[in-house]
Symmetry: C2
Amino acid sequence: MYHQLSKQSVIVQKYGGTSVESVEKIHKIAQRIARQYQSGMKKIVVVVSAMGKETNRLVGLTEALNDPIDAASYDMVVSAGEQVSAGLMAAALKQDNIPAKPFLAHQLAICTDSTHGSAQIKSINISKISECWQQGIIPVVAGFQGIDTLGELTTLGRGGSDTTAATLAAFLNADLCEINTDVEGVYSADPNRVKGARLLKVLDYQVAREMAILGSRVLHPRCVEIGAKYNIPIVVRDTFSQEQRDYTLVHSGVKQACKNNVQVTSLSVDKNIARVVLAGLTSKQMAELFDQFVKVGVNVDVIVHERVEEEERTQVSFSVSMLDQLKVLTILERTKLQPGYSVFNFVIEYELAKVSVIGSGLLAQSAITAQLLQTLEQADIEVYMLSSSEVKISCLVLKEEATIACQLLHDDLIKGRSNKRVIRAVAS
Amino acid sequence: MYHQLSKQSVIVQKYGGTSVESVEKIHKIAQRIARQYQSGMKKIVVVVSAMGKETNRLVGLTEALNDPIDAASYDMVVSAGEQVSAGLMAAALKQDNIPAKPFLAHQLAICTDSTHGSAQIKSINISKISECWQQGIIPVVAGFQGIDTLGELTTLGRGGSDTTAATLAAFLNADLCEINTDVEGVYSADPNRVKGARLLKVLDYQVAREMAILGSRVLHPRCVEIGAKYNIPIVVRDTFSQEQRDYTLVHSGVKQACKNNVQVTSLSVDKNIARVVLAGLTSKQMAELFDQFVKVGVNVDVIVHERVEEEERTQVSFSVSMLDQLKVLTILERTKLQPGYSVFNFVIEYELAKVSVIGSGLLAQSAITAQLLQTLEQADIEVYMLSSSEVKISCLVLKEEATIACQLLHDDLIKGRSNKRVIRAVAS
């Protein structure tokens, strides 16, 4: 990627919380930017997160109040951390003789809708960025924050600074959006848990997005979605690694290379899963129930659907995050008491985990699903549910068996084997 | 004061750092405001400081960078604390069912000049406050911050939130500006050091301002100046004391009461003083030297001036804060080396303290000065310098004798005696 950049390239650089957790680290980052600036790369925008655990501290303050805090006040409190980082980063750059200017959301007119806590950016006035560049100034933008049409502060939700960076990159038609973080890039599985997990050098947007949704904490789904929509290459790299060493590049060039090919890219595990089994509902009742889940923000995943013909009723199982299971239980218990639900029944099972295989062209190749089931069966690991799509196959297993399941699947589907060999093994 | 207020009264309430140092305390304050609101007082504006030592923590971050930080970045970093307090206070009010809205400087167009770090407020758009009140909403304003004409963040310097409150009160033509703090009000001397120090129930603006300048940490000079200029009554009170109990009222009504009367109100002590004695300078050279002091921000105080006739040269002594003495020394040493300064000489004396008697009509009554000198002489305390004005008499004594000097002067000039008796004692 980096060899394609010129002095005229527009680069948005986002630095995450651990990267700016101390003044020393901020200074180190300033030195990196100064080197780039002095080498002639002057069209840089810096986006910063809050220092280390600062946002958590601020969230803690809001939680210490008696009741849940209102969304507008919440946004005002939790967005303060990025302001501090922006001021410090601009100051550090100036100390290295690089002209720099800190910007808050309202100063760049980072306009969002009014969904406090998870607002979406609608527009950014990039003329101020251009003005900075014309004067040789590096703009340093406080991430995570925006303003709505009333001029009220909003925040962009989890991974908000990544979203700020990607959106700025989109509006600037940037050549690169760098996500500088505390790991070298995106891995094929969690390297702390899975032996042989390896750094993924390139990813296409769709796979990267799926990995982000499934909880890879490195990239955030919206950042990837914006990158995909505006075709902005995204690099995930270690803030303090040597220049142009290891990193993950997310761009649109990958897909072409493995067109019509099955490509298993990575594995992810979520150990906080419950399974809900519902029986004795009509289709209409089922639809009403799921509508209620949506309304309280429950994310229903891995749905398996079975029609019991003679009763004209449906049996459905689905997985939910343990964070949501109490909401689900409340709704189910309330439903059961209503007239017309006499034959309705439900079971919730706990201590489950969701292991997901992520890649491209997975639906077209049922051999991968077969291989997955075979691998787990050989290890005597029961699969409670399974669902697959073009980009992922997710299965529910016992929580205590998740790590070994992940290791086995990584060994079989990713590590050191070409996809062709995997497929052959299944076919034989 | 409080019995004069009606439901239509406009009140600006400022809460200081120790008052909002925890979420619990913020909640307590919200409950106070809620009681007032429910009793019908709805034209309230709340101004908040940063929580506890938060601004110090932020200043510490700026100081941790290698070199002094640029002023604009500094302001962006150190103003973040008030934003957090404003959000939390608005949230706490809402939890008590009081409609509230947090405001940052740019949202109220608190416009200042561009003197980062000690900007002066030029204007505030109070229409947003009126709009809030029309809807029954309490505005909660982040103190200490402003924006300049370029839209850049500025801060108002030491005591900045008091300045925000007083200026808002001025623009709103408020009936009262409350400074809610961690002491019951302004005392006749530091109650931790001087026995018999008492709460001053009323003060006129001039005396209050002089006390603020001389280092009473409760009120800040600019806040008092704004109050005086726009004739806004200021109340200093303990945030968590019972309503309408003890407090200090600063207003213009006091002066009338003691017109033509000597009124010794309080004593203050500054233990970080050096005395500088200059000899062998022409008037022109002296003026140039003082001009240099001004340029580097040295505050020269208590000047005593002696003309040595035969030489057409002047001897001058003055006191400076120990914080400034190094700057003074540097300038004096550099000056001594210049041509035309061969007979110039200087001495700097350390370990001194400045004890000041503050009151009204002091110049008219030299008896107070006489009493002061007599009291100190009887206790064998040498007075190194003395200067007096309408509102204060300051004298330099040895640092080690400052506390006893203060106690003796408090006993003689303030405690339990009418001014008349003091004067008689001197006259006899």
